[in-house]
Amino acid sequence: MRVLGALLRKELRLELRTLESVPGMALFSVTTFVVFHFGLNRPNIEGDLAAGVFVVTILFAGMLGLNRLYVADQEEGGFDGFLMAPVDRTWLFVAKAIALFTYLVVVEIVAVPAFGLLLLQPSILPVLPSVIVVLLLANLGFAIIAALIGAIAVHTRARDLIGPLICLPLLIPVVIGSARALEPLFTQGGAGTLETKWLLILGLYDLVFGLLSVAVFDPLLED
């Protein structure tokens, strides 16, 4: 926990100092909702369309975070400093995943109200607790995959392309699960109820890829 604390503190300090990820991700989300607001040529959206627009927007906003996740470590030698320390390297993966999860939560604190104001027909307030549960599970899945793939992508020249190219196919279950789970919540009047099976699918995905990532992360960092 000492190591995790040190890594997390460093991650959050760097983000607070540079503001390289979260503001860009939030601005991207809100701008995309504005573009959809005018581009769809309809005052409001609901149901599957609303869920799809929201989930995909957050997904692409997350890609901006993924692309920055390991840049400071790579460019400033942080990787080498960490690799020479007598610590379990898996903590780096855990810290990166928690940091990205935190960034996504902060972005969604801005993006969800913006989505409700600009696009969603029914008010989001009655179903907000259910929406939060879905988003937390989806964020966790995204953060796990991004923390794993980011460590591979950052060593490549085309890291801004490689990361999303590998991540997006792996995240399709998260996109489907979260969009299907949100669909009834974004239906007119908020009449639909949250289907437990989609939460289970998201939870299972998080568990499987979390364990898999822990198993393969250390060898990935080897020369």
């Binding site: 460093k10 760097l14 100092r17 540079t18 030698g77 400093g81 320390a85």
Partner: protein, 229 residues
Amino acid sequence: MTPVIELSGLGRAYGDRAVLRGVTLTVAAGQTLVVFGPNGAGKSTLLRILATLLRPTTGTVRVLGSTLPGEAWKARGRIGLLGHEPLLYRELSARQNLRYHARLHQVDPARIEQLLDAVGLARRADDPVSTYSRGMVQRAAVARAVLHDPELLLLDEPRANLDPAATEHLEPLLRGERGGPPRTRVITSHDPAGGLAEADLALGLKGGRTALFAPAGDVTAAEIGELYR
């Protein structure tokens, strides 16, 4: 004396390009090995292999009694590296960087203040590293490299970017003075006279091969100069 570094037929290639070939040497505890050679001779690659950051392609490497790369985890934390990169986060202050490394290495926080004083950065310790001059960055990097009092110190042109006053200021740290047994050091240098003066052993690399390896007392600056022709 116990060998700290034992290399036998060490080779390293990046794809098809061999950077190190057949390097064999032994460095005992407390000795200083100075590595000479022109740019691209393989000096930095050698240091990165000893630091457990690169795997050897051929040959065997034992560092601090551990065979690399299989037992690298045993040696980590006992090695300090001052490379071309300072291994410092530019947007964090020197103190924050040292605290981060101190937590990774389980170092007493009091050592941070002691080192900040020793490298003359106490007054600027809370400023971001990005605001430092190159010499100040190098001083912070020296503090980072010796923070955990490593048994083996790897120094890649450690006096680069340092003015004479700063060099003199950092000499005790660069010489490897420590409370316990003397520190073993591997230093890369382009300064034949200066390098030989602090070396117990001299290694000359040319094109990744060993051009000379001998006790420093048996080597002249002119012989080192030949490596660069």
